[in-house]
């Protein structure tokens, strides 16, 4: 059940400069429902500021715990990065609707922290290939154990360039599902280059600045293809690629 719970920081790791993981205690009821693509709203400070929580994808679940992985972007993530083992952290979740775990072979396309939800997903599907992009090798998030290709802007690992450059090498017929997650600019670039039939089977894990995170405030709007807006936090974060108005969407 979705609840606001006090968790315990079981482990903190600096995966690479400015990228951290926190392993947080969790009960059965949470873990059962924390499926791929769902997220939590984390109270980043005991004091009132920052005022609203920060959303993070469930990166992995284990017995009695789950993990989030994040990059320090601003105040909230900075505060989180200073937590140490044994600290208490209020976490609301699991929230949102995650990936529809459809049968058939999957292609995962992730940019930067966008890949944070992939480990959770890849384990539960027929994962054929993972494409990853990041600015440099140290900012690539591993999705261990699966065939993967990557591109880095500085060429420090894989191809030099953007994840879009890898798309030419994909044999689209091999895949019946795509998961796409990353910065909005990257997702727009990718979506623009996906064959129509593939776009139809693409699930996008979207990002928006969130207020509540639980569907009440209408703060997290994403332009919908039918006009109007989707709510990232409750219609999504994972939504069909075709439900987004890609021209209007400008990101957070």
């Amino acid at each position: 059940m979705t609840r606001d719970r006090e968790t315990l920081v079981l482990e903190r790791e600096e995966l690479s400069p400015g990228i951290f993981s926190l392993t947080l205690s969790a009960g059965e009821d949470f873990l059962r429902e924390a499926g791929p693509g769902r997220f939590v709203q984390v109270e980043v400070s005991p004091g009132p500021f920052p005022l609203v929580r920060r959303p993070f994808t469930v990166n992995r679940t284990d017995a009695g715990s789950f993990r989030i992985v994040f990059e320090v972007k601003g105040r909230g993530t900075d505060e989180l990065s200073h937590l140490t083992e044994g600290a208490r952290l209020r976490v609301l979740g699991p929230l949102g609707s995650g990936y529809r775990l459809l049968p058939g072979r999957w292609l995962l396309i992730g940019g930067g922290m966008g890949a944070a939800g992939f480990p959770c997903l890849a384990d539960r599907i027929d994962c054929g290939l993972v494409l990853l992009g990041a600015s440099s090798a140290s900012r690539l998030l591993e999705v261990g154990g699966f065939s993967s290709m990557c591109a880095t802007e500085d060429g420090s690992r894989g191809a030099r360039g953007l994840v879009t450059d890898l798309l030419d090498r994909v044999r689209w017929d091999d895949f019946s599902n795509v998961a796409l997650c990353g910065p909005v600019a990257m997702m727009k670039a990718v979506a623009g280059r996906l064959p129509d039939a593939i776009l139809e089977v693409t699930q996008v894990s979207a990002e928006a600045r969130m207020g509540c995170g639980w569907g009440a405030c209408e703060g997290c709007s994403i332009p919908a293809s039918g006009g109007g807006y989707l709510k990232c936090c409750s219609d999504g974060p994972v939504v069909p690629a075709t439900s987004i108005d890609w021209d209007l969407w400008e990101g957070v």
């Binding site: 609203v52 995170g213 209408e218």
Partner: protein, 291 residues
């Protein structure tokens, strides 16, 4: 727990905490999470005559010590509210007050007229103070004559009590409150968000499309306390306080300033369990004082 109660419109509540419009949806999500305990009433997201998409993103921008919002009254329109949402809302364990917005004086009454078809609403909150729309917003609510006419029109249409939600941004809050009372309002809500803005000085970019949004923050509590106090001096109808609540102490301070009930908005987004957290805290503090 004491047997203390608070009352509004001839109804008694075992909590003084009302959930503010726009931050609780229609209460369903909180019900699903089990967080309506401690809540006296839910005030819905604004309902307008026609569906409104709302403003383009970003709609929420956090600043150093507060939150700017520019939702722009996104809602499916009153017809959808009456036919689809309110029937489900009868399952809510607490009364629902429907927040009503409009672009013209008549439109407020038209929305209320439609809402009257539903048995569900406990009352209405007439939102003449939205900072995030061009019509029917701040300037509209700043005119006492407009406020009085809207109140009268709504009163003529409604079988239910209603509160008029005032703006702190323009005009005089006491004059508007008097006008609402004169027009037949059963309460005033003091008040809506304060106009606020942020700009990135490096780029000159203003994140909100409408530039200016509604600003809320726990740091604004003293502004609400003052406005509740002066409004209570001016009118005889109940005053519902709204703005800056994040602690049980804040609820008690607003009650001490004269409020009949106290709303929580932004902090509810942070703490969906605010209803019980605040109600329990209030009862505990009261018990400490007079055991």
């Amino acid at each position: 727990m004491t047997g203390r109660t608070w009352s509004l419109w001839n109804r008694e509540f075992d909590s003084p905490v009302i959930l503010a419009s726009g931050t609780a949806g229609f209460g369903f999500e909180l019900m699903d999470m089990g967080y309506l305990d401690g809540v006296a009433a839910v005030i819905s997201k604004a309902t307008t005559l026609r569906p409104r998409k709302g403003n383009p993103p970003p709609r929420i921008v956090e600043t150093r010590f507060g939150l700017l919002n520019s939702v722009g009254l996104a809602n499916p329109g009153v017809e959808e509210v009456v036919t689809r949402i309110l029937p489900e809302a009868s399952a809510l364990p607490v009364p629902l007050i429907v927040n009503v917005a409009g672009e013209t004086e008549q439109e407020f009454a038209s929305v209320v007229e439609m809402l009257e078809k539903s048995p569900v609403p406990f009352g209405y909150e007439i939102n003449v103070s939205c900072p995030n729309v061009s019509e029917g917003g701040v300037a509209f609510g700043a005119s006492p004559s407009t406020v009085e006419r809207v109140s009268r029109l709504v009163g003529q249409t409604s079988s239910r009590p209603f509160s008029v939600k005032l703006t702190p941004n323009e005009g005089s809050i006491t004059e508007s409150a008097l006008a609402a009372q004169e027009g037949g309002a059963g309460a005033v809500t003091v008040c809506n968000t304060f106009l606020g803005m942020t700009v990135d000085w490096r780029t000159g970019m203003i994140p909100l499309e409408r530039k200016v949004g509604g600003y809320s923050s726990p740091a604004l509590l003293p502004l609400t306390v003052a406005r509740v106090h002066i409004t209570c001096q001016a009118v005889d109808i109940p005053v519902l306080a709204s703005g800056g609540v994040s602690r049980p102490e804040d609820v008690l301070e607003l009650l001490a300033a004269g409020a009949s009930m106290v709303q929580v908005g932004t902090w509810l987004m942070r703490r969906p369990g605010s209803g019980a957290e605040l109600r329990d805290g209030v009862l505990e503090l009261l018990e400490d004082v007079s055991p």
